[in-house]
Symmetry: C3
Subunit: 348 residues, 3 copies
């Protein structure tokens, strides 16, 4: 939803720009060149996308005053398209939601809960016994915080997030909707008949400062000790982090990645989307695993790996190239065989 | 749970069929030939599955009056096995749940909420300030709808679903349990030390008419403007849709697929299960990406691609076939080498 | 959070061990050798990890009385490091949470609900009409149980879990937070214009005894009949189980795996993490699919398959090895070609 609508000409005026276009339709939002529709303002920030101006469906596109090129849309010429687009984004952004300090009437607060100053507890949130919540935390509607969990300051837990018992969060942590922190790890003993018995998962989860965790992420509590997420770590939606994993400071985990039990992701490492990491491995500092990669052994620091099983990127790229040339190689082999047969014939 | 149980002979009678079987056990459910157990009725609708009739554990199988073949189970012969099976499905289906219009006593409704006629708001649902809900919407237990969200008519939000602030839904949208629409996109600026700072995600999500979204799906709000899902789009469980993605009308996204930021999935495209799409790409109209495919560049319209990186299906299939023949190619090469050595020996 | 802190010397005393170390820092938790920090106790249980003792950051490591080797950390020598570590784990584990029988004041209980003895219904849980809940079940905060669901005894449903209408659970089932059991299957009819119409999903889900289901798992209800999960099945987080799938007794499904409609996973089969299984297939008894494998045809019993499309492990490993040797093969081919050219020259 946009909270504003204004005509193209008014918009050009507000952005100190010059409109080049035949009509003056209302604009209600902003969008990238590929995604924009007739009621969107878009912008050209990189010359390599200039060809998109022939086909964009945007209502108008912000370009620099000197830009020249083919286009099939209205233009608004400005001094700095980036800055003007940022300004337009502010015009069309919905008003941010402000949550006032206090406890909603329908929230349920257990015994021995310590609540910091100016904290907000939303409707139908459930805070179990012995929980500590720091100053200025926002606990949104329907959140569950289990027994004795400890939260630092300035935390935001979005609606539906679950923190299980004994979990510890640092300061300025953001956890998105329906994420689960502290569910049991996946651990069983197996008897001779292949029947599994649950191994109690008696540890917990400790999360540092300035961590953001996406929607529907699952972080399992440790079998013993702690599953640990360091400072500044950013985790995208639908990621799985198994028991006793350690994610060190400033690592980045992109959507739908899964990290198996007891593996360590070192500082500043990046796991791209849908990566899988087997158990008991170490991904070195500043290492990068490409999307859908499957890591089956330790990754050295500052190494870029890809593929399943994951290999150094250049090696894997060469393998892919060789595979794509296999049909030609097959032909070449047949040609050589014919030449050998020829030689054999003349030889005999 | 089946709400009915009846003997095989009574079932045959109700389906206008002829029972061929020695015993008359009770039937409580219906199932496919592979999955059926002794208390299930199954059916043969395709001759290619006829061999399953020798091994199925079904209590009885519906076949046509003229069918002949080996079977290890009771049969019920009918004129039209498909129609009879549909009728049996109705006999054994649980009674559908009807939700009456009205607001549950435990629901929490904010200020300035507009509620259409005959809408149902379930127990413990939380509707924030300024939300509009159209006629005949069903908002089930524990759903959270954030500030100023706008819902069309005849929508069903299943228990635990979360709609964040400002999200817009068309008519006849179904959102399954614990799905999250409008969580923040995954966007950061990075400083020289590799420390990330959150880029505000100030846009929203707009969803069209007749869209169905599965359980635990995550659709991120736009960094600016709107993440967009068109009319008639069907999204399976556990799918990730990043900020500023556009899914055009009638596209189909199968379970556990992930689509990175700002990519566009054009009309009628199909992404099979566990597909990954990198950012800023376009999947053309009527294109298909095979299961687990990893899309790293634009996919032209009406193209079927597979593999990681995704390639045209035929090309990828040929590559796979060549790889599987590599052991033979290796042998052939060794044989040629021997023949060359032979020639060289006789030549010298 | 650890509920205890004790000095290294006191810990050595409590574990009947002998401390070898210069300082006596406080210990607050236990951890593996790779993950441990200065306030953790760790242990050496397998000689192959002995080299980790040179680099571990653990406050101290439990080793056997006779162990000799390089180490850069304090040691506590004990008779049986495994047993001593288990004891230490108990010292540092947080106190388990006990839930008392009874119905929380904020829980909402529908009509015709049957509640067993000593059951616990947590805050803000919603139990719809006609639900049966067996003895000693724990239904945690914010859980939703739909109409006419039937639960056996000694079940634990963690906060935020959703059981949809008519779902049936056996005894001793554990379902983790925000898992969804019984959402609609993904089924549509398609018209000539490519517009999809929902096929009603009128079946349900039946789960056996001693099943554990992870956080954010989705199990779809059947199109007709039942989606079935047998006894002793263990399912990790974020797994997708489509409509009419059958998981037989004691199968194991690791995180982020997806199983398409109507496939059967036979007894004791294991699907490792991020596996995909196409529809209408059978994974045989005791079969294993390696991580990220993509199963496109039936897997025979007791077979270990890997890759996409999944192949017998040895065959796939050989293919991978052959691919990695392609650069050498290319060189060999060039060398043979040169020798042939030489022969041809001398022949003419």
């Amino acid at each position: 939803m946009s909270t504003a609508s204004c005509s193209l000409s008014e918009l050009a005026h507000r952005l100190d720009g010059i409109l080049e276009g035949a009509s003056d339709p209302p604009v209600t939002s902003v969008a990238g060149l590929r995604e924009a529709g007739p009621s969107d303002l878009s912008f050209l920030n990189n010359p390599k996308y200039a060809k998109l101006l022939r086909e964009t469906r945007a209502g108008a596109v912000l370009v620099s005053k000197t830009w020249e090129g083919e286009h099939g849309c209205a233009l608004i010429r400005v001094d700095n398209p980036d800055a003007a687009f940022a300004k337009a984004t502010e015009i069309f952004r919905p008003a941010p939601v402000r949550r006032v300090p206090g406890i909603a009437a329908s929230a349920v607060i257990g015994r021995d809960v310590i609540l910091g100053e100016d904290a907000h507890i939303g409707e139908n949130a459930v805070i179990a016994d012995g929980v500590h919540i720091g100053n200025r935390c926002e606990i949104h509607a329907g959140v569950f915080i289990g027994e004795n969990a400890k939260l630092g300051e300035d935390i935001v837990l979005h609606a539906g997030a679950v923190l299980r018992e004994h979990v510890i969060l640092g300061d300025r942590v953001i956890i998105h909707n329906n994420a689960v922190i502290g569910s049991d790890g996946f651990g069983y003993s197996v008897d001779a008949a292949g029947v599994r018995t649950k191994v109690p998962q008696v540890g917990t989860v400790r999360i540092g400062d300035d961590v953001e965790i996406g929607a529907c992420v699952c972080v399992d509590r440790a079998r013993f000790g702690e599953t640990r997420i360091g400072n500044g770590v950013k985790i995208d939606n639908l990621v799985q982090i198994a028991h006793n994993v350690v994610i060190q400071d400033h690592a980045v985990i992109v959507s739908q990645t899964g990290i198996s039990g007891s593996s360590v992701v070192c500082q500043h490492a990046i796991l791209a989307g849908q990566v899988g990491v087997a158990g008991h491995l170490t991904i070195g500092e500043h290492a990068v695993v490409g999307a859908q990669g499957g890591v089956t052994k330790d990754v050295p620091p500052k190494t870029y790996v890809w593929g399943t099983p994951a290999q150094p990127f250049e090696q894997y790229s060469k393998s892919l190239a060789h595979v794509s040339r296999l049909p030609k190689l097959q032909q070449k082999l047949a040609a050589l065989e014919a030449r050998i047969a020829q030689l054999e014939a003349s030889d005999s």
